[in-house]
């Protein structure tokens, strides 16, 4: 069983093989020695690995998992082979910025771009207010605004789509 992971933003490939009731684990091809003991129903584990013990906390659902080891949080996105193949096409399509989503719930104070606008990387797209703070949401990369999903005054939840960016047009000078 292959899993495609992003651990704190870095890609990892983990393979699990089940044999005679035991799992063998490799991370990027390297075997990882692992034994664990469940402490409670909440997700606290004792993990033994490489002769060291770790008090680990694990939480989350299928594709987003949070793991805390010694005060540090590891953010894990995880896909199995089928999901990985399905998402590959999406990733390709979103080059040039892709979909900008809201990272937090809030209210759109101002929309600064319109459909069809060319934007530079880092250019503010809209102003989102949360916790009485106004936050500028900037374009992650240069591109063209294909769609604006919100308007002034829209209340958005975490993960809500804000703006769809497409690839930038070919430069006319070149």
């Amino acid at each position: 069983m292959k899993y495609y992971l992003e651990v704190n933003g870095r890609e990892r490939l983990v393979e699990l093989r089940e044999r005679l009731g035991e799992l063998s684990v490799t991370v990027d091809g390297e075997p990882v020695e692992l034994a664990y003991e469940r402490i409670d129903e909440e997700g606290q584990l004792l993990v033994l690995s490489g002769g060291r013990s770790y008090g680990v906390s694990i939480e989350g659902d299928t594709d987003q998992i949070g793991i805390t080891i010694a005060g540090h949080l590891y953010d894990v996105r995880i896909e199995d082979e089928r999901e990985h193949a399905a998402h590959a096409a999406e990733r390709e399509a979103s080059r040039g910025g892709g979909r900008v989503t809201s990272v937090m719930p809030g209210v759109v104070v101002e929309v600064l771009v319109a459909r069809g606008a060319e934007v530079a990387a880092g250019q503010p797209l809209l102003v989102l207010e949360a916790m009485k703070m106004q936050n500028e949401i900037a374009a992650p990369a240069a591109g063209v605004v294909q769609e604006v999903f919100v308007e002034q005054g829209s209340a958005v939840g975490a993960g809500a789509p804000l703006v769809q960016l497409g690839p930038p047009p070919e430069s006319e000078d070149s």
Binding site: E22, E42, Q44, I58, T62, T68, I69, G71, D80, A158
Partner: protein, 505 residues
């Protein structure tokens, strides 16, 4: 002394006050919003009165509801904690007019210190040093530009009604003053209903040093030394320490005297904090917080004085028992605020339900916390969940102790600011004591720094593997609690790999 007081607050500060009150034999009335019906403070008082409403504006901020609760329960005094109504002069007045005691300074003192412009006037008259700037707010963007030219760049645009770091803009170029004024003024209008801003010089490499003061009703006042709160982001403090590295005994005395002068100028009573900007041996008055502060425990750890007890004694009319020379400073204390914030995404507010909670403990570790498993963290309330406070005989031990404590801490279900605090504690500039209010903002915290990524990857995959297997057995089995509970076929609680010796660390 009072027999029964009402605590008009929630979270860790409500518990903080309850604890001292209980130790003094005082009964506590707590109040709670519908959102907080299971909260720790609701459980820990002697009497709990529902205020109704989910939001602060429907509960903790409604003075009439609080007063009614006090009347119904026979509470003699109201402790406001910090935030909410603590710096609301109108409410303080209403409390007094209702024949109750306000555990805080006189309403007039709150009013003067709460208005940035009025307080500057009062402080100027009292001979307290001020940062060069306007005494009156700028009428419009053009006036702000003119003022910036006069005061000298860089300048800070500050909301007249602001506080807690909200509504402040720093501008380094004259050409940017106009547009910054418009955004900041709009923000202030939205947040406080008052768009007035004033312009002042912005001090580079500043350190935030504040003095804790305490006055009784008989004209006596003492100070409890300083706290350094330079580790902040958007003017929201994250790590505080006591004493400050840059303040020696002589400067402490001087700053303490100035702080007492500031308090006397407004007829202060009770606990208060005078905030200063410190830069290169000079210090300038910033503002006075007319209440107990979030970071008061580090002063308690170093002086051995329970500030809430002193507050209650002063409010009940007793004279200060301590003289200035009785206040001694021993060792070093650090506080870290545990906020519901997602550090890598730029400290955006985090929400969720707290689970899998593990609080630090051990020698000289104090945790002031409103956390419990099942606590829902939403956006309507302050993000401060808990404070970890440590003491050590010297600064080095205190830093190591705090680091140890934060490694023990686990708050599941909600992201917290703890990783940012660890990054600060590990930073050379912090360890060397050579830092200013820009340190935290200068750190790149966008990518987490843990070194156990391989282990995390392996665990996540195993977690997912078991989850998928459970879901295959039925929809109910996908419940995220107890993900290992039903792992079968001899996997039980173990996954083993007889890999090569050592494996990967």
């Amino acid at each position: 002394m009072f027999k029964r007081i009402l605590i008009a607050n929630r979270g860790e500060i409500a518990l903080r006050v309850i604890r001292t009150a209980r130790e003094m034999g005082i009964e506590c009335v707590t109040v709670f919003s519908e959102f907080d019906r299971r909260a720790l403070h609701t459980r820990m008082g002697h009497i709990a009165i529902p205020l109704g409403g989910e939001l602060p504006g429907e509960s903790y901020l409604v003075g009439e509801k609080i007063l009614r609760a006090a009347k119904e329960t026979g509470a003699e005094a109201i402790h406001p904690g910090y935030g909410f109504l603590s710096e609301n002069a109108g409410f303080a007045r209403a409390v007094t007019e209702a024949g109750l005691t306000w555990i805080g300074p006189p309403p007039d003192a709150i009013e003067v210190m709460g208005d940035k412009i009025e307080s500057r006037r009062a402080m100027q008259a009292a001979g307290v040093p001020l940062v060069p700037g306007q005494t009156d707010p700028a009428a419009d963007a053009e006036a702000a530009v003119a003022a910036a030219r006069e005061v000298g760049l860089p300048v800070a645009l500050k909301a007249a009604a602001g506080g807690g770091g909200k509504g402040i803009r720093i501008v380094r170029e004259l050409g940017e003053v106009e547009s910054a004024f418009r955004t900041a003024s709009g923000e202030a209008q939205n947040a406080f209903g008052d768009g007035r801003l004033y312009v002042e010089r912005y001090i580079d490499q500043p350190r935030h040093v504040e003095i804790q003061v305490m006055f009784d009703q008989h004209g006596n006042g003492i100070h409890f030394g300083e706290r350094e709160c330079s580790i902040q982001r958007r003017h929201q403090k994250l790590v505080e320490e006591c004493p400050a590295v840059v303040i020696d005994a002589e400067l402490r005395e001087r700053m303490g005297e100035v702080a007492l002068r500031a308090g006397r100028a407004v007829g202060y009573v009770g606990a208060g904090t005078v905030e200063f900007l410190y830069s290169g041996g000079e210090f300038f008055f910033l503002e006075m917080n007319t209440r107990l502060q979030v970071e008061h425990p580090i002063t308690e750890m170093v002086t051995g004085v329970d500030l809430v007890r002193e507050q209650l004694l002063a409010a009940s009319g007793e004279a200060l028992r301590l003289a200035q020379e009785d206040v001694r400073f021993q060792g070093h204390a650090i506080e870290v605020r545990i906020n519901a914030e997602d550090v890598p995404s730029g400290f955006l507010p985090a929400t969720g339900t707290v689970r899998n909670l593990r609080l630090p403990a051990g020698p000289w570790v104090r945790v002031d916390s409103g956390l419990y498993n099942g606590l829902e963290v939403g956006l309507a309330y302050d993000p401060l969940l808990a404070k970890v406070i440590v003491w050590g005989p010297d600064r080095g031990v205190a830093i190591a102790r705090m680091r140890r404590a934060l490694e023990e801490l686990n708050v599941g279900g909600v992201r917290t600011s703890a990783p940012a605090a660890i990054a600060v504690l590990d930073h050379e500039a912090f360890q060397g004591g050579e830092y200013d209010t820009h340190l935290l903002e200068s750190l790149d915290l966008s990518s987490p720094r843990g070194r156990e990524e391989d282990l995390a990857a392996a665990l996540a995959a195993v977690h997912r593997f078991h989850g998928a297997r459970r879901r295959g057995m039925g929809p109910e089995a996908g419940d995220r609690a107890g993900w290992l509970a039903r792992s079968r076929e001899g996997l039980s609680d173990h996954v083993r790999r007889a890999g090569r010796a050592g494996g990967r660390a």
